[in-house]
């Protein structure tokens, strides 16, 4: 190995390139800009303004944050559903006047007055909601009109009541507490905001109505198609916004007890600025209450700081306007930029030096030497199956295969002409195995581990495992469960090919050639799913050894078969059984007389092997060359390897021209025949075997001759 190769190996082993793309894919990346902004602003203000961090000042700011925050939370909820509410400022002023009139002039009890005020706010929200939600008027124009109308109402009310409001007095400790009280030293309004924010967060993230709001904002049409009542949901958000504005107005009334014509003027702009700078999207569907709070704090600190810095009133509006523009720009550009950057950097090839490939083409004495033994296989179901990744036979000889449409298709013995959909499981069913009760356990790409019982009822077994501590992407969900086998105690050992890609993108995982796969164990007695092996190079076939003390598994990109010990001295350790296959191993299955069958989905090529040791070359290829043009292992050739317990190769069956069976991904021995499946094929193959036990069947090998009780 040259120094360059050695350096490349180290560099790709220890520099986690894949992390960048994964981090960019996380939703919490949306918070990076607001959090940075908040921290920078806080540091700047704390250093630039003396006494900025004094308790009194902080408490003042917190009280204002309480009022503004309620409005921003309401507005955020409207925006999440894809709308906008400009009337919040006027509504706030209306609530202020209403509360003061009811309390100072009409001398209503405080509780009743607050309830009535909130009712008025809700009514305004309902008007908005009705117009926008049910009549489908444009949110922007509608609320602009209600802004003006309500402002007019406020002015009328002020003309009548302003003097009496100013002269009226209130003597209520409750009202004073609302306006100036504190709980454990924290201003009441701020506490109220926190309580409402927590409740709002809970509703939005945990309750049905919250999910509906997010869905409507994400895509109105999709939400409608999913059966969500879009008008009602939209209307609801305006009502919530109205209520929260009224609540803020009430707090304001209790704090200042004054009604002037300029109350709440321009408040909508401040609220929108806060909502956007916090990272909520203008278009809806993306955002949270937490972001609203963060935005509120940023804007409040900024406004307060500007006043303390002695800026003119106009200048401070200008700063707010500038911040709003920035927020809009970030909202538009950030997501797009993040997605495009992620698309560029997500694929991160690794360094993979494979052992020298056996000379299967040029050396006729190689155990893998090419032949044409698979050229004349019998063909079953030609053109009737789309990609039978795995095939399996029951004791009666019926043939099951997992096909692309999400079905388990069954061909009936003995002639395999009659075909039926045994069960529709959805997803992309891949590996299959029978359990001791005759249930068919299936690995489904995109879904997890499922079981089809003898009555054809489909049940989920597991779709979640323990999350790795250092993984950035959430690897608890299964993305590409691939193949499984079942131990005598019922434990299911199954492989997940890669945690970074779904089934449709497995090709990209080939390009990466890094250890993204794993093996997972499901224990039926405890119901616990645990990952037992990680960092495998496309974990694929899994097969219990004949003595059940270990299982064999295939790592496709590594071109090797390994054994994991379940008991004995080597329990919990892995050892390599075949290190240098001539191609890419897929499923492993038991054969008669203590042997195993292995499908090779394709052959290694010198050009690809070399590319695997040049990660930068592959990364550039992924970016600059269209996916269809990518260099790829040769999967137009089919091969089956027959090997013994020690990994010694007994025979190899090739279809070199790939006319009948390119890309063999599975095979099963059954009563002297071998059945072949392929993930891109439109047929199942069957070939008569010599030198095997003509009575051997898979189910009997696993569960005994008289398995599953009755036999038809």
């Amino acid at each position: 190995m040259t120094i360059g190769e050695w350096a490349a190996r180290l560099r790709y082993r220890y520099v986690p390139d894949h992390v960048v793309g994964e981090v960019l894919g996380r939703r919490w990346m949306d918070n990076v800009i607001p959090v940075t902004l908040l921290i920078a602003l806080a540091i700047f203000l704390a250093t630039a303004i003396p006494n900025f961090t004094a308790v009194g000042n902080i408490s003042d700011i917190a009280r204002q944050i309480g009022e503004l925050g309620l409005i921003v939370v309401g507005l955020t909820i409207v925006m999440l559903a894809g709308g906008i509410d400009l009337s919040v400022g006027s509504n706030f002023a209306l609530a202020n006047v209403t509360a003061l009139t009811l309390i100072n002039v009409a001398q209503w009890p405080i509780e009743a007055a607050i309830a009535a005020t909130i009712g008025v706010g809700a009514l305004v929200g309902l008007v908005n909601g009705f117009l926008v939600g049910f009549l489908r008027l444009r949110a922007f124009l509608t609320t602009l009109v209600t802004l003006t109308l309500i402002r007019a109402v406020v002015d009328l009310l002020l003309e009548v009541y302003s003097v009496r409001i100013a002269t009226g007095t209130v003597d209520s400790s409750l009202w004073d507490f609302v306006g100036a009280g504190s709980i454990l030293g924290v201003p009441f309004s701020f506490v109220l905001l926190i309580v409402i924010a927590i409740a709002g967060h809970f509703v939005l993230t945990r309750l049905r109505v919250g999910w509906r709001i997010m869905a409507v904002g994400g895509s109105r049409r999709a939400a409608y198609n999913a059966g969500i009542s879009v008008p009602r949901t939209v209307c609801l958000t305006y009502v919530v916004s109205g209520i929260l504005s009224a609540l803020a107005g009430t707090l304001y009334a209790s704090r200042l007890s004054g009604a002037g014509p300029d109350t709440g003027i321009g408040l909508e702009l401040t609220a929108i600025t806060a909502a956007l700078i916090g990272g909520n999207s203008v278009g809806g569907g993306r955002g949270s209450v937490g972001k609203a709070l963060m935005g509120t704090i940023i804007v409040s600190l900024l406004m307060n700081g500007l006043v303390r810095l002695g800026l003119q009133n106009g200048a401070s509006s200008m700063v707010i306007g500038a911040v709003l523009l920035m927020a809009i720009a970030i909202d538009v550009r950030w997501t797009r930029w993040r997605q495009s950057l992620r698309a560029k950097v997500y694929v991160s090839p690794g360094y993979l030096a494979l052992p020298r490939a056996p000379l299967f083409v040029s050396d006729p004495s190689s155990p893998y030497a090419m032949n044409d033994r698979l050229r004349d296989v019998e063909v079953i179901g030609l053109g009737e199956v789309d990609g039978p990744e795995d095939v399996i036979l029951d004791p009666d000889g019926n043939l099951y295969c997992s096909v692309r449409q999400g079905d388990i298709v069954r061909f009936l013995a003995p002639d395999y002409v009659e075909r039926e959909v045994y069960a529709h499981v959805g997803g992309r069913p891949l590996g299959m195995a029978f359990d001791k009760d005759g249930g068919l356990v299936v690995c489904i790409g995109g879904m997890g581990l499922y079981r089809v019982d003898k009555l054809r009822k489909v049940q989920k077994i597991t779709a979640e495992t323990n999350r790795s501590r250092l993984s950035i992407i959430d690897d608890s969900r299964m993305r590409l469960a691939d193949d499984l086998d079942i131990a005598p105690d019922g434990k299911v050992y199954f492989s997940e090919a890669t945690i970074r890609y779904g089934f449709e993108e497995w090709v990209v995982d080939a390009l990466e050639g890094r250890g993204n796969g794993r093996i997972i164990r499901y224990d039926p007695t405890t119901g616990v799913t645990r990952t037992i092996l990680r960092n495998l190079l496309f974990a694929n076939g899994v097969c219990m050894a004949h003595d059940n003390k270990s299982f064999l598994f295939a790592e496709t990109w590594a071109c090797r078969i390994s054994r994991y010990w379940l008991e004995g001295l080597k329990e919990g350790t892995t050892e390599v059984v075949i290190a240098d296959l001539p191609g890419y191993p897929d499923n492993i299955n038991r054969g008669s007389r203590g042997t195993y069958w292995l499908g090779l989905a394709g052959t290694r090529t010198p050009s690809y092997d070399m590319a695997m040791t040049m990660p930068a070359f592959r990364r550039r290829m992924a970016r600059r060359v269209a996916g269809d043009e990518w260099l790829f292992p040769n999967v137009n050739v089919g091969c089956v390897v027959h090997f013994d317990e020690k990994g010694g190769v007994i025979e190899t069956l090739w279809d070199g021209s790939g006319d009948n069976h390119p890309a063999i991904t599975s095979m099963r021995e059954h009563r002297g025949y071998l059945y072949l499946g392929g993930v891109t094929n439109n047929r199942i193959g069957r070939i008569k075997l010599a030198d095997v036990d003509p009575d051997w069947t898979g189910p009997a090998s696993y569960w005994g001759e008289s398995c599953w009780g009755t036999r038809r």
Partner: protein, 359 residues
């Protein structure tokens, strides 16, 4: 500034460094006209076609065969493989051998041999000049005709065009050509197909051998040129350009290692017939789906013949696509309204009538 832009472009793979190839569109819209042509002759490696008094003949490995006879009656055979062939005005033929000799068969100079010239070791095309001299395309200064793949992967442009008069005196008409693989006299000047530039280049007859592009940005690598009676020009293109190959050409590290460590048959490079062994590189889009190789899938080999008008503008083309069986066409000839072509990759000479097939 230019240098800097180029460096930045090559780092990001954009601008001049972006990997683009011309699409098969316009006059190059795909069809399966080559696959529909009737087979005339199957031979190990039919390469170059010519018309002599014996009719249409073709070179295949070491022999010259008659195309119109069912089993390709052998006219002549040599101790070396033939790399180029042309018919002469007197009805004879000139044959270029891989070691650089030129042998005349039939006609008034029949039986004579021009000794090898050390400067002309890679004869890829021959054509008679109007004054009785012979024009010779020398593909590469460093690689023989069999090592054309290496010449491409080394990104050479060391080919040259020579004129050998009846006395055997050779003079160089132009050098620094990127694998000249076809010759055609045109209005006193010479048009050369430069394979690695995917272009046709005109070499003026003046002493300085000035070069000027005639047709550029071909979607495949051009080889021999011929002219039909109606003055249209027929161009054989022996392998398709592909994004992957262009990418590998831009990757110096990978290319150097590939040339050093891998057998040329298994290179990521164009070829006359792909898919012969499982050790060849394949591409993602070339995976058989449901037992079918899609005709539009990326392929390292292809069959293509283009029809150019007298001004060398492409007007139509005949194809054998990724799933076709007429790949690697190195020569084509229009005789009596019948188009003959030699698909070297698939070992077949076929012909069909051509009267403005819709492309």
């Amino acid at each position: 500034m230019n240098q800097l832009t180029r460096a930045i472009d090559s780092w990001f793979g954009r601008g001049e460094a972006s990997i683009t190839i011309p699409p098969m569109d316009g006059a190059f819209r795909p069809n399966d006209h080559l696959d529909l042509a009737a087979s005339n002759l199957e031979a190990p490696a039919p390469d170059c076609l010519a018309v002599t008094t014996q009719g249409v003949i073709v070179s295949s490995d070491r022999s010259l065969l008659r195309v119109d006879k069912p089993h390709g009656a052998e006219i002549a055979s040599f101790d070396m493989a033939i790399s180029a062939l042309t018919g002469l005005p007197d009805g004879g033929a000139a044959v270029g051998l891989v070691d650089g000799r030129i042998v005349f068969v039939g006609g008034e100079r029949g039986g004579t041999t021009l000794a090898k010239n050390p400067d002309i070791a890679c004869i890829t095309a021959l054509t008679p000049a109007s004054d009785g001299a012979l024009l010779v395309a020398n593909g590469s200064a460093t690689n023989g005709p069999a090592a054309w793949k290496r010449d491409l992967m080394e990104k050479n442009a060391s080919g040259s065009v020579w004129r050998i008069d009846r006395q055997g005196r050779a003079s160089c008409l132009a050098g620094d050509l990127a694998y000249p693989y076809g010759l055609l006299e045109d209005a006193g000047s010479l048009v050369v197909s430069e394979s690695w530039r995917c272009a046709l280049t005109r070499i003026s007859s003046s002493a300085d051998g000035r070069k000027e592009p005639v047709l550029e940005n071909l979607p495949a690598y051009p080889s021999r040129l011929s002219r039909a009676d109606d003055m249209t020009i027929w161009l054989a293109l022996f392998a398709p350009r592909s994004q992957l190959v262009e990418f590998v050409l831009s990757e110096n590290g990978y290319r150097a290692r590939m040339i050093r460590e891998i057998d040329a048959d298994y290179w990521v490079a164009p070829c006359l017939r792909s898919g012969l062994t499982p050790l060849e590189p394949t591409q993602q889009g070339g995976v058989k789906q449901l037992g079918v190789l899609k005709p539009w899938s990326p392929s390292r080999s292809y069959g293509l013949v283009a029809r150019l008008d007298p001004a060398f503008r492409p007007t139509a083309s005949l194809h054998s696509r990724a799933n076709g069986r007429r790949h690697g066409v190195t020569s084509c000839l229009m005789v009596d309204k019948r188009l003959f072509f030699a698909a070297k990759g698939d070992g077949i000479v076929a012909s069909r009538t051509y009267e403005g097939l819709a492309s």
